[in-house]
Symmetry: C2
Subunit: 247 residues, 2 copies
């Protein structure tokens, strides 16, 4: 009896949303993967699966891992940490069982696998025992600044990427200190982010982007946005280039 050679886990960066912004390498790997897995919110199709759709083999085995809780719960909450830890452990076990049977697994990742995101929890659990290969992707923020026609950094600009979950004072302090900034995870943090931008005297420069490069894309000056609720994965941009352009 021969030992079965382990399959490889591919962390496949799919880019910001437009399926044509996938790389040639991602498309190639998807078209040969035996198993295609992705994370998604309970009951939703999942952005990642939608982006990848045209490249997945008809005979691929599919695995959808549904988050047990929303991403808007504070990561310091004990119930959240416990539920999400069990969820990631079970997802990794499912992937590993395919790898042990010799099947390659393509785990679909919106944006870039090594830039935030759930892939990292699989990577940290699996890389020591099985082959893992990561294919970078265009980040959501690159997609957003391109869609907004807003070059983000010029010359010697400093760029700061901030989670909207930070406190208002911490946000304001860092925004004052940045030439260019990107604020991720907006959602119910919107009012606090607006206040921090006002504190830092950068509110009028801010651009709001929702579903950048995807159907339903929405781009506006933050000051024109109004007071409605916005999705968690929307992004706020503060473009750089102030006083540094070679005219």
């Amino acid at each position: 009896m021969t030992a079965i050679k382990s399959g490889t886990l591919f962390g496949v960066g799919l880019g910001p949303g437009d399926p044509e912004l996938m790389t040639l390498k991602a498309a190639r790997v998807l078209s040969s993967a035996h198993v295609v897995a992705h994370f998604r919110k309970c009951g939703r199709a999942g952005h990642a699966r939608t982006i990848a759709n045209a490249h997945i083999r008809g005979d691929a085995i599919e695995a959808a891992f549904e988050y047990p809780v929303t991403t808007e719960i504070d990561f310091r909450d004990e119930g959240y940490v416990s539920a999400i830890r069990d969820f990631y452990a079970a997802s990794a076990a499912s992937i590993i069982s395919h790898l042990q049977d010799g099947r390659d697994v393509a785990l679909l990742c919106e944006g870039d696998p090594f830039f935030y995101g759930s892939f990292l929890h699989m990577y940290d659990r699996i890389k020591a025992t099985h082959p893992v290969m990561v294919i970078p992707g265009i980040t959501g923020m690159s997609g957003c600044w391109t869609a907004a026609q807003a070059p983000i950094t010029y010359g010697d600009d400093v760029l700061t990427v901030l989670p909207g979950t930070l406190g208002q004072d911490a946000l304001a302090r860092r925004l004052r200190d940045a030439d260019a900034a990107v604020i991720m995870k907006v959602g119910h943090n919107l009012d606090k982010i607006k206040a921090a931008l006002r504190d830092a005297e950068r509110y009028d420069d801010a651009i709001y982007v929702e579903r950048g490069t995807m159907p339903g894309e929405r781009i506006s000056r933050l000051s024109d946005l109004g007071d409605c609720a916005v999705p968690y994965f929307s992004i706020i941009l503060l473009p750089g280039g102030r006083g540094r352009r070679i005219a």
Copy 2:
């Protein structure tokens, strides 16, 4: 006599270096462009042209714009600013003459067109008078952290992107304040960057990446690098995720 319809300037992000990390969209636009232009150092083939090679039409008109000065001169130097301003004006005029004759121009951009880089000087000169379309690309830094197998940001990390041209104190202050950091434009700033990393007590975490995802790729702990000169476009990474992972 009918007026000729203007061509479109495409800012084509080519990604970090591996030609397979180009997007499907970039490959499609390249395969139909009448004119392919790129910036390069005097006498060199140019990374961008090399990455794009397989997708350029045999009958494309090619334009190479050769920098008159090195990128390692301080941008506050008057002679540099004057020479580079003339160079960008002449490059834009060359592109515009093609657009006016109705030809689309694909301007090749390493990485992402809106994330630093020379494309922005063309964009700012041409967008008011001619159609411009930008295709985002994977940034050089994404390519580097993937090649180094170093996830850059977890959970609620703050990421700071710093030009190595900043002073030692400014670098150290910002490095102390960052969960994750990327230092661009290393070159002759290497010794100063090392000193700033030591000041911030982050030297031992730093990873050096040269030619990430390309032939000749070189990755090492910064502390193992030795004292030889390094290229301007090498990158130093400080991965995040300290104390924030869900184990």
